[in-house]
């Protein structure tokens, strides 16, 4: 008995020791890389684009030898770390607010990288293969808790020829703060003044009804296990898990199935001027083919980086992201690429980034 305890203790210690060693190794490596500005960049932020970012960083390191360390700690953390200057660039799904920008003396540029979309997924076996059709006002009232039955006259009117049951409608939303939530409630606030007044827009909100699931997987599980549920998840996640998704009526009155093309179309439907700061919401976009619940995701970089060599490294990296090859990688992973007009504007902005107050070569 005491022998086994002894062994357990010893192995516990050696485990701890090796963890500590690992920790030191990791930290040491990070520091060493950080000191050498030209061969490595660090970034932190949004989790939604993490799969494509890590693919980009990997490919970029192979092509140029510049390592990019990215921690997907969440958009809020990305903005925080960027503001605290602990990273070279940040990443966020929701643009920085004016106050936050004032917090960095306006020395920030939002650069869109790819597009994401939020889809409504539901579990209603009696609907069969008919996709559920929803319009903006109905979605808002469902999530406000005003439509509580599947055979509500408004749902029936939107879905003629289907057999909607007299069954409770159960809402599922994200419980963790999330860019996905931000995009979804941004849409709801645009289409419903009641939502704007009662709930508002944020990465976490005070939901009037529903169950909270942690992450896309948490929402999906609750929806798939419980009849009569409706929830929202990222398009990428819905596609890779073949979830049943609703068609949503866009601002032009068309019912649109969420797809990469429909998302890129939404982005193209919101025009930006040459002096744009890219902090543009593309929810409820105009255009016949636009899917209305979509958004950019952004990288945050300094407009004028005092460290010239770092500014240059970031500039070439950003240029690379907007090449057709890199954007094609995004499509492969299920992210919608930027429309050409926006990519052109972004390239122009990247070219005018400053380092140490001077134009970069």
């Amino acid at each position: 008995m005491s022998d086994t305890k002894q062994i357990a203790r010893r192995s516990g210690f050696s485990l701890m020791a090796s963890l500590v060693l690992l920790g030191c190794g990791g930290a040491g490596g990070g520091d060493g890389a950080g000191a050498n500005a030209v061969t490595s960049l660090t970034g932190a932020g949004a989790t939604f684009p993490y799969p494509i970012y890590s693919k980009w960083f990997d490919a970029y390191a192979r092509e140029t030898g510049v390592e990019v360390n990215y921690q997907s700690i969440g958009s809020g953390g990305g903005v925080r770390q960027f503001t605290a200057e602990t990273v070279d660039f940040g990443a966020t799904d929701g643009p920085m607010t004016d106050e936050e920008i004032a917090g960095v003396q306006g020395n920030v540029v939002h650069l869109p990288t790819v597009l994401g979309a939020v889809v409504l997924t539901y579990n209603l076996p009696s609907l069969g293969d008919h996709p559920l059709r929803l319009d903006a006002a109905t979605i808002a009232d469902i999530f406000l808790g005003r439509i509580t039955k599947w055979n509500d006259p408004r749902l029936v009117a939107l879905n003629p020829g289907t057999d909607l049951p007299n069954q409770d409608l159960i809402v599922v939303h994200r419980s963790d703060g999330s860019g996905t939530t931000f995009v979804f409630v941004d849409y709801l606030a645009k289409v419903s003044t009641d939502w704007q007044e009662q709930v508002g827009v944020g990465k976490s909100v005070n939901w009037p009804v529903g169950l909270g699931g942690k992450g896309n997987e948490g929402v999906t599980q609750q929806v798939s296990q419980l009849d009569g549920t409706i929830g929202y998840v990222e398009l990428v996640y819905a596609v890779s898990n073949s979830l049943r998704v609703a068609e949503v009526q866009n601002a032009a009155g068309q019912f649109v199935t969420p797809s990469l093309e429909a998302v890129t179309a939404a982005a193209a439907g919101v025009s930006m001027g040459p002096d744009t700061d890219f902090r543009v919401s593309i929810t409820n976009a105009t255009g016949e083919a636009s899917y209305p619940i979509a958004s950019y995701t952004w990288l945050l970089v300094h407009a004028d980086n005092p460290d010239v060599s770092k500014a240059q490294a970031i500039q070439s990296f950003l240029r690379w992201i907007l090449t057709p090859e890199a954007q094609a990688m995004a499509t492969d992973l299920g992210y919608a690429p930027l429309p050409e007009s926006v990519a052109t504007l972004a390239r122009t902005r990247i070219a005018s980034l400053l380092g140490g107050g001077q134009a970069l070569k």
């Binding site: 903005v79 409770d168 419980s175 703060g177 944020g202 599980q221």
Partner: protein
Amino acid sequence: MNEPESNVAPPKGEPHGFQDLSGTNVGDIVFKTVLILGALLIPVLLGFLVWELVDGSRLAIQEYGLGFLTSSTWDPVAEEFGALPLIFGTLLSSLLALLIAVPLSLGVAVFLTEFAPARIRSPIAFLLELLAAIPSVVYGLWGIFVLIPFLRATIFPFLQGTLGFLPFFSGPIYGPSMLAAAVILAIMVMPYIMSVSREVLLAVPASQREAAIALGATRWEAVTTAVIPSARSGIIGAIILGLGRALGETMAVTMVIGNTHELAASLFAPGYTMAAVVANEFTEASTDIHFAALTYVALALFVVTLAVNAFARLLVWRVTQKASGSGGGR
């Protein structure tokens, strides 16, 4: 002459030599210093932790004061925060978990020390202790995929059918709920309570049992009158350990509790806990006041845990007092 002298010298020198050893031996001084530093490190760390929590939540403390603990709105957009449903959820889920886990794990511990055939004791104890090594996210996933569907299909309808007249078992059944969280927590704290109580029961001298049996007690009577009373303080300690684990558990709970800021009497209704809200919202808390409110929740959790532990210590202390009092009487 030399020999007697050398015989006399050690007794004279020994106490002196001992004192020299403890005072001047370099190895001892280093060892002692290291130990003192190690011992000091823990209170210092704790101090830093508290300071960091208080400092981080200062904004929220100024804004909401103690009303934070009794308000139940949680609206990050309107910047209104209240932690009552969280405190309620944390305490209720942990207490329910203990209600389920304590009888089970005590039963197992007694069975393994007193009744089980010697051959199966170690394997079963080993397997139960393995439960403690499973990461909580795995418990959470298991909860989502296995436990919740099972509870929703069988246990919950049964409870509602038989005890539905009680407010605790009324209302719609979704699956993710306070009760599901309590069941997951119970499974997670069981190995701790079981394993510690088993050690404590093993430490009860065999003479206690033998004496009881010699007086004509059955094995059951020997266990309840002789073994468990002398292990009582240790068993309470084991329960406290389990409670501490339950109060702080985050990942598995947030995956099955439904994450809703509501005070509901029904155990089938979704709830929320303090640890879960911090884990859920911390990464995306972009405004300062939201950040401060979450830190305030963490501070409240710290205080609640401290209070529960202090109360438990008091309980252990009183039980030991009583036990030693009655021991003296005998």
